[in-house]
């Protein structure tokens, strides 16, 4: 039931695990910007760096495989749209459909960038404790006027907490459906139709119970703020990733 890897923190002691969450977030933004801005020549070193980081963190490769598999349909769609919509030297023609060599190259580049961004996001998620993630959201939103940073952080925390519960409940309802109706395919339209209402009802009931439980423990918007402990190594990480962005922009 609990093998969902979205938002899945993997306990560890690597240098990335130990980074202050604010610095980790800024570094993530720098590297993402670098990936978005990089020309194909710069994507090579960035990809090698990404692979080395993944290996150094000793994160299970299955995580990458599983998340890419889930993301693959979207990437394939992006690739097809790019390949069909980019004008240039025709590589394949079939009726009104024309695929240009430039379209294939463009589609490949976009998919590569998206894969890199996905991998960076997974590094962040798998090395950041959910409570630190919540603290980072609060820290990031605090300067923005009229945005309730504490409330938003609590919402993020609850989302992280309840996604596995929701997953478990969907699994239970699916099993109950299969037992009573004999619908075996997990993706059949019939099953999806019968799945939505009971799941929604359980979610609403769970939300109601949750709000009661939070009130029972004295929940209020004004709560003890998270604490941060930045070290020199955190500043170094920001400097290095910032340098990577600058070099990528110069190239």
């Amino acid at each position: 039931m609990a093998e969902l890897n979205f938002f899945g923190y993997h306990y560890g002691h690597s240098f990335v695990h130990r980074l202050d969450v604010r610095c980790k977030l800024v570094s993530l933004l720098f590297l993402t910007a670098a990936v978005v801005a990089a020309i194909p020549v710069a994507m090579g070193p960035l990809s090698i760096g990404m692979l080395l980081l993944w290996v150094a963190l000793q994160l299970p490769l299955q995580i990458l495989g599983r998340e890419i598999w889930a993301f693959l349909t979207f990437l394939l769609l992006v690739f097809i749209v790019r390949a069909l919509s980019t004008p240039g030297d025709p590589w394949l023609s079939w009726g009104v459909l024309r695929i240009a060599r430039e379209g294939l190259q463009e589609g490949g580049k976009v998919v590569w960038r998206l894969l890199m961004i996905l991998a960076l996001g997974l590094v962040f998620i798998t090395t950041t404790r959910p409570s630190d993630l919540k603290a980072a959201v609060q820290w990031l939103l605090r300067p923005i006027p009229f945005v309730p940073a504490r409330k938003a952080a609590t919402m993020v925390g609850l989302m992280v907490r309840f996604i596995p519960v929701l997953h478990q409940q969907i699994g239970e309802t699916q099993s109950a459906l299969a037992a009573r109706s004999g619908i075996r395919s997990r993706r059949s339209l019939r099953q999806i139709r019968y799945l939505i209402l009971p799941t929604m009802r359980r979610v609403v009931l769970a939300a109601d119970q949750l709000s009661l439980a939070m009130m029972a423990r004295g929940y209020q918007e004004k709560r003890t703020d998270p604490t941060f402990h930045a070290k020199p190594a955190d500043g170094l990480a920001v400097a290095v990733t910032g340098a990577v962005l600058v070099v990528t922009l110069i190239i």
Partner: protein, 247 residues
């Protein structure tokens, strides 16, 4: 000391929660509240924690009225819900225990100390980095108790604490309840299943259709509980003294 004076509460759909309930529970007592579904057990607990406010009458805990100081009452009365999954709000075991103290605006070192203390007391210190949904049923129930204990309440109320637990889970939770009694907490436990807790109860309350039907020493009331839709424990039927589930 808990005191209810002629407390009534009806739900918006017209169903009766409680009717004219008057009750006093001295500090340190373990009170078992029994009754069929809809008899008002959970309503009573919610009124004690201030989740519901009485439409008539008055509820006070250690002299504090739920109408006048809701935050103070919730700090004094910890409530452990029937469904542990709905009560656990933290992304890790330690984060969940910290939720209550954070609401009390305690400084971070004090919160950390309370988390360690509460997890130690329920035997979950070694799982503080664990994600809650990976815990067993008994462990989840103990985590919800730790979350309440971290607020250092004087009263802890349990809503059906033994439901959906196996023997080992029941024993774990029962040990926890008895440890709380030992440390001087006032405890209210609602249950359909008297067998699991009655040997340790100081008092038994029977609720029926929102009214207090019977209250007194468990041994005196057990023979008549079935009149009120609660199963009499087998040992009581056989004329024997109630036995602990820990033996």
């Amino acid at each position: 000391m808990i005191r209810l004076d002629k407390v009534s509460f009806n739900y918006a759909d017209g169903s009766i929660g409680l009717q004219d309930l008057s009750l006093e529970i001295p500090a340190g007592e373990l009170v078992v509240v029994a009754g069929p579904n809809g008899s008002g057990k959970t309503t009573l607990l919610k009124l004690l924690n201030g989740l519901l406010l009485p439409q008539r009458g008055r509820v006070t805990v250690d002299g504090i009225c739920t109408r006048e100081d809701l935050h103070g009452v919730r700090q004094r009365v910890g409530m452990v819900f029937q469904h542990a999954d709905a009560q656990i709000v933290g992304e890790t075991v330690a984060d969940d225990v910290a939720f209550g103290p954070e609401n009390l605006l305690l400084p971070r070192p004090e919160i950390d100390a309370r988390v360690v203390e509460a997890l130690d007391s329920v035997g979950l210190a070694h799982k503080k980095h664990q994600r809650p949904h990976l815990l067993s049923g008994g462990e989840k129930r103990r985590l919800t108790i730790a979350g309440v204990l971290a607020m250092r309440p004087s009263v802890v109320v349990f809503d059906e604490p033994f439901s959906s637990l196996d023997l080992f889970g029941v024993q774990q939770v029962l040990r926890q309840i008895l440890a709380l009694k030992e440390s001087g907490h006032t405890l209210l436990v609602t249950t359909h299943d008297l067998d699991k807790i009655i040997a340790h109860a100081d008092r038994l309350l029977l609720l029926h259709e929102g009214r207090l039907a019977q209250a007194g020493q468990p041994n005196a009331i057990l023979p008549i509980v079935e009149q009120y839709g609660v199963r009499e424990p087998d040992v009581s039927r056989l004329g024997m003294k109630a036995r602990s589930w820990l033996n």
